[in-house]
Amino acid sequence: MLEAPALQELDERTLVTRAIGRDREAFGALYDRHVVRVYRHIYYMVGNAAEAEDLAAQAFLQAWEAIERYEIRGAPFVSWLLRIAHNLGVSYLRSRKEGAQLPETLVDHGSQRNPEEAVQQQLEGERVREAILGLRDEQRQVIILRFVEDLDYREVAEIVGKSVAAVRVIQHRALNALRKQMQREESQGVAANG
C-alpha cells in the first residue's frame, strides 16, 4: 500500500477507483481533499458549526458506504458528495421543522446604514438562501460555487463536470428561477396583506 503523501499526489479518478475497491486510505485522501467544501456547503444550509460538522461526518460515512454505487463516468466525485451532503442537510432542516436562521457570519454589514436596513438585509438574505436551497441540484451547486464560494467559471465547470459554456447557461437559468421565486413570494405577500 502507498504511503499517505504519495496517495495525495494521485489524480482524483485513481483515488476514486481505489476507494470503490474498498481502499480506505484512498478514501481518506478523498476526504482530505473535499471535507472543507462539504462542510461549507452544509454550514451554509444549517447555519451552525457543530451541526455542520456532525452532518459533514455523516455525509462521508454515507459516501463510503455507498461508494460502489458511484458511477465513475457520471458526475465528478465532489459533485456526488455535495449531493449526499445536501440531502442530509435537507433531512436535518425538515426534522427541525423550521429553517435554520442565517448565521451572523453570513451577513455583510458593510453596506448597511442603520439597524432597520440590517434587519431587512438579513430577512432578504434568508429568503434568497432558502430559494437557493430549493433549486435543482445542478443549479444549486452552480449558484453556491459561483456566488457563495466565489469560484470562477473554470473552477465551477471542473467541479460540476460541465463546460464553461454550460455553467453560464445553468447560472442564467438558476438566477432566473430565483428571480421568479422571489417575485412570486412578493406578490403572495402583497395579496396576503391586501
Partner: protein
C-alpha cells in the same frame, strides 16, 4: 438566440459588477435591450449571503473524523463509534 445573447451579457455584467460600480454601469449601457432583466438578475446576486473565506471545520473535527472513519481495517463504523449523536435533532 436571444437567450444565448442574454447569457453572455449576464456573464459580462457579473464580471463588471465584481470590478465596481463604474464597470457595471458601462456594461449595462452595452446591452440596452436586456437592461431591465440584467438589473433584476444582478440584484438577486447582490442579495445572496456569502460565507466568509475562513469558514472551515475545526482541525480537531477533521482529524477525529478521519481517524475514526478510516481506523478500522474491516467493517464499517457505526455513528456511535464516530461519536455522533444518534438521537433526532430537536
Amino acid at each position: 438566440m436571444a437567450e444565448a445573447a442574454l447569457i453572455e451579457a449576464l456573464a459580462n455584467c457579473l464580471d463588471a459588477q465584481h470590478q465596481g460600480e463604474a464597470s457595471l454601469r458601462a456594461c449595462l449601457e452595452r446591452y440596452p435591450e436586456f437592461r431591465v432583466e440584467l438589473e433584476e438578475l444582478l440584484a438577486i446576486v447582490r442579495l445572496i449571503p456569502r460565507l466568509p473565506d475562513q469558514t472551515a471545520p475545526s482541525p480537531a473535527f477533521r482529524e477525529r473524523t478521519r481517524r475514526r472513519l478510516l481506523g478500522r481495517p474491516n467493517g464499517r463504523p457505526s455513528p456511535a463509534d464516530l461519536g455522533w449523536r444518534t438521537d433526532s435533532p430537536s
